[in-house]
Amino acid sequence: MQRQVLPMVAILGLILLSQPGRAATITTLKSLKLDVPTSDTMFPGPGSDAINNNCLACHSADHVLNQPSLSREAWQEVVNKMITAYKAPVSPDDAKAIVDYLARTKGTS
């Protein structure tokens, strides 16, 4: 999709719009009570039980679905990091099933 770049005369006006921010005098802060959205999306397809059961407590599925395709070795490294650095309590059998799922659905080969 192409956009036309406006001729210079049309643009010069816009550049002047940006005003320096001025810090207002903040005297008090107001309490907040807000709900932050979560996600109920699950990993789809066969072999997804292990990844659904082990991974979604800490992060939503889109964290993984938005990753690039990676080699099995790279996915193994990611799963190892989750277990060793971030202390995800994943059994060795589940870790293998998770790497299998990722290598199959988001692998490079």
Binding site: M1, Q2, R3, Q4, V5, L6, P7, M8, I11, L12, I15, L17, S18, Q19, P20, G21, R22, A23, A24, I26, T27, T28, L29, K30, S31, L32, K33, L34, D35, V36, P37, T38, S39, D40, T41, P44, A57, C58, H59, S60, A61, D62, H63, L65, N66, Q67, P68, S69, L70, A74, E77, V78, A85, Y86, K87, A88, P89
Partner: protein, 412 residues
């Protein structure tokens, strides 16, 4: 600036972003359920992201991860001015456990460790008890633009919107430390917020600065952002602002300051966020044997904001290019534009200086005389005389990418 204090009642209910992954994409053809998306134009994909307006106090944002939230600033926002609106300042959390409910009368900031007098400060103590100052500073994630790494690497797949600039208002960390009285032998200061890991054994998110850096008079405990209190997702009520350094140090919901007389051994300081100790922190993919060092300061960057890849530019007629730049951990000395793919460069005119660590606008006129494809490039040189590299930088974790940006246009 909008008033964020009044929330529509719908936000008080728990909301679940349903079917945002594969299911959402499958439904896009249905007009009733159409979801606005953005194409990040990344080879190899996945390139499409949802745009969301579902997060409290946040406007239209690129949804990189639902929980814990990674919300990216849509790139067109950067064309509107040097200060990013609070409701489109990017959002990044490491752990999902952080409160949505903060009572300003109960919040306490603790200062402890190697100090003569441990402190427990109320928000009123912070707002009324210390001199305040303002500073413009870009908050940029260390992994900004990771999606453009070649070869690709795992991690938050940020495009160019994991950076935002604000005019921060707060008190000097130095003044707060002086109130507590730093003991001789202190070497570092460690910062923590209200966020907690989901798994009890996981490392709490903490970062440290050297005692000298912490006391440099620029590091801020911020309670104001562009003249308003901080949005919850940007760290309300208090956030550490470390001008010139990557966002990972800018601890959100800051409630604990610990002065240390030993090196900080926690995971996030001692192990995480590492780059090769090489020029431009760059190595060849697959290379080994280099020393790794912590991510610290930002590197210079610049962007054209009014012309995007694939745009058409009138041939033979002067056109205007403009954008933003930042020096990284110092100011912007110059920004140059190339209209011939980097063979020659012409200086641009810098906009008003709003502060060493903030975005600086630049603009210039250029003429593409020949019809056809052209490549525009923009290059920032900072006040330390460090220029953006003209080759693709790469490191294993995809940190501190700052290669010169190229914009491909068609002169017609």
């Amino acid at each position: 600036m909008q008033d964020h204090d009044v929330q529509p009642s719908g936000l008080t209910r728990r909301r679940v972003l349903g079917g945002m992954g594969i299911a959402g994409l499958a439904l896009m053809s249905s007009p009733a359920l159409a979801q606005e998306t953005v194409d990040l134009h990344v080879p190899g994909g996945p390139s499409t992201r949802m745009l969301t307006t579902s997060y409290p106090q946040k406007g239209r944002m690129i949804l990189q991860r639902s929980s814990p939230p990674w919300l990216e600033t849509p790139f067109e926002v950067f064309d509107k001015g040097v200060f990013t609106p609070n409701d489109q300042h990017y959002v990044s959390w490491h752990w999902a456990n952080f409160p949505g409910d903060i009572d300003v009368n109960k919040f306490q900031l603790t200062v402890r460790g190697q100090v003569n007098q441990a402190l427990s400060l109320s928000l009123n103590d912070i707002l009324q008890g210390f001199p305040r100052f303002d500073i413009a500073a870009v908050n940029q994630c260390a992994g900004a633009s990771r999606i453009y790494a070649e070869p690709r690497v795992a991690g938050a797949q940020w495009a160019n919107g994991a950076m935002s600039n604000a005019l921060w208002t707060g008190v000097r960390l130095k003044d707060v430390l002086d109130r507590a009285g730093v003991k001789p032998g202190a070497i570092a200061v460690r910062f923590g917020g209200l966020d907690e890991p989901v798994m009890p054994d996981a490392p709490k998110f903490l970062k440290s600065l050297s005692i000298d850096h912490a006391r440099d008079g620029e590091v801020m405990i911020a309670f104001g952002m562009n003249g308003e209190q901080l949005p919850l997702l940007n760290g309300f009520p208090l956030r550490l602002v470390v001008p010139g350094w990557c966002g990972v140090y800018w601890i959100k919901m800051l409630n604990d300051i610990e002065v240390l007389d030993q090196p900080d051994t926690n995971y996030w300081t001692a192990t995480g966020y590492r780059v090769p100790d090489t020029p431009h922190n760059t190595v060849k993919p697959g290379a080994t044997g280099f020393k790794m060092v912590p991510v610290t300061g930002n590197a210079p960057r610049s962007f054209i904001t009014n012309i995007r890849n694939g745009d058409s530019v009138p041939a033979g007629t002067p056109a205007s290019a403009r954008g933003i730049a930042f020096g990284g951990d110092c100011g912007v000395a110059r920004v140059d534009l190339s209209i011939d793919g980097g063979k020659s460069w012409q200086p641009t005119k810098l906009g008003a200086d709003q502060g060493t660590y903030g975005f600086r606008q630049w603009q210039t006129a250029f003429t593409l005389s020949a019809r056809g494809a052209h490549t525009l490039m923009v290059r920032c040189t900072n006040t330390k005389n460090e220029a953006q590299p003209d080759f693709r930088t790469w490191n294993p974790a995809g940190y501190l990418f700052n290669t010169i940006e190229a914009t491909h246009v068609l002169a017609a």
